[in-house]
Amino acid sequence: MAASRGRRLLWHGRCWFSQTESGVPSQPPDSLYPPIVASATAKSKAAKRRRLEHFNQRVHAAASIEEKLRLYGQLQRPKYMLYPQTFALNADRWYRSFTKTVFVPGLPPRAAAAAAKAPGAVAPEAAETPAGAAGVAPEAAKAPEPGTAAPEAAKSPEVAAAAAPYLDMGELRSLACDALLQESFYQNKKRPFLYRDQDHTPGPFLTQLVSTLAAFLCGRNPLLAASSLDLKPEVNYYWHHGEEVVVHGHRKGRVDPVRFQIDDNPHLQIRVPKQLPEIVPLESDLGDVPVIDHKPSKLPLFKKQYENKVYIGSKVADPCCYGHTQFHLIPDKLKRERFVRANLEDQIEVVYRANGIASLFAWTAAQAMYQGFWNEADVTRPFVSQAVVTDGKYFAFFCYQLNTLALTVETIQNNPRKNICWGTDSKPLYDVVEDGSVKGFNDEVLLQLVRFLLNRPKEL
């Protein structure tokens, strides 16, 4: 038809519209005239709305997930690059505002809830979680659960003794100490090169520890047996949040969404074929999201234009498409000693929190996009992942629940959902390694790590 051919030629200049329009509804048979709609090429707000609507329909109607991701990230424009491991001050507050995340200190009371459900501790799987609850009850701040955990505490010592064959702390402790001593004491390594300390000892120790623990706990957690352990994978996510006016250039004066991209390289990652269960219901509200009223570039944050990538660590066709746990290693630039020397002790925890929030948001959101959700089609079930951020000695544990992907200006208006991140402060795993032995080993940290690895959906 002449009208549609003319439309295609007119739109050819914009990269969005190089294909024929498929979103035009067919004429109802009873009307003689075509439907009266706003122009698609005029320089007007109605025309812009119609073009956006057409783009949304194209993404909704995409045939496969790869096609959907390709259309979602097709238009390249300058965007802010977010680095999960950053030296910027108070970065976790900014990242919470960009990702609409609520930070709750302490880990969620999943283990204690399981203990409350199984009072007699009959089932062997439930037996190890009261042992974990007894170990963790003094640890993090879990307000509702101590009341129910206290009557359990009387029963749990004998339950813990009965659960000892199931969760042998001695065995796990020896595994961890072996890995640590092998990397730092027994193996003859040359002195590390300048600023390569983290790759020298803590990196290999973390890899060894996680692989041996995962292999050891395979029998207890069948999900780990079907999991995939990635070494130094790549995780990317691209999203829009908020609006700004373009300052320089040929597009000066136009209102644009603020684009962000996270390109993260965790040290290790465990991907599983089944999703972890939700921690709290989808619509829960556990706190407030900080509001930042000035431009993101004051963080400091810089803009660049390159490929808009969304990636979880494997391609879409991989069966292990859900995330389980990520392990991050703090680089040499962000070590504790440097912050202490610069009188910035309060920023040490900020580094861990910012890393946890940004990496986990990118991972869970990319997992959600792999299932076909995006900011116009919000998630119908929450996506949960865990992360451990460490610098070799100090471990901090994070848990993230993605409740919403709708962060753009139009979709955020009527969206009461917020993403939630639980996290702990960093605790040392050991005090010092000398003379072939590990002094001051902290069992609680190891127990928390083991509990993270044992996390699995209820059906298994």
Partner: protein, 147 residues
Amino acid sequence: YPLFQLGGPQLRIFRPNFFMLAVRPGVPQPEDTVQFRVSMEMTKVDIKNYLEKIYNVPVAAVRTRIQYGANNKRNHKNQRVKKPDYKVAYVQLGQGQTFQFPNLFPDKEQDTETRSFDDFRNKYMEREKQRQKGDPRRGGVPDWFGL
């Protein structure tokens, strides 16, 4: 002052010949950020030490940039006149301190005398304007136009 030997008491204080000017930021800045115009030869370390040692201000981070002064204006001889370059430093304060640039020209509250004088002046100006305009029944046509 006695001659200084290594390890002896430091009795003289040397102050640098730099000056830092705190300015109001042109664009909104985060609460803990203060904007300064500093000498072109100062570095980030210099700025940090200057504020910490002389003014006891805890500094967490400093970022600097050099603002180029334009060279477009022309004087009466058509020579280009350059506006001088200057260095801008964005200082983030430590220990959770915040800073808001004060409003140096607040509106003075008016007492009855100035208020009544202002009212009288406004009324007088309105009356003068009305007189200049002429008869409103003529619809803006000047009074010399006619038979």
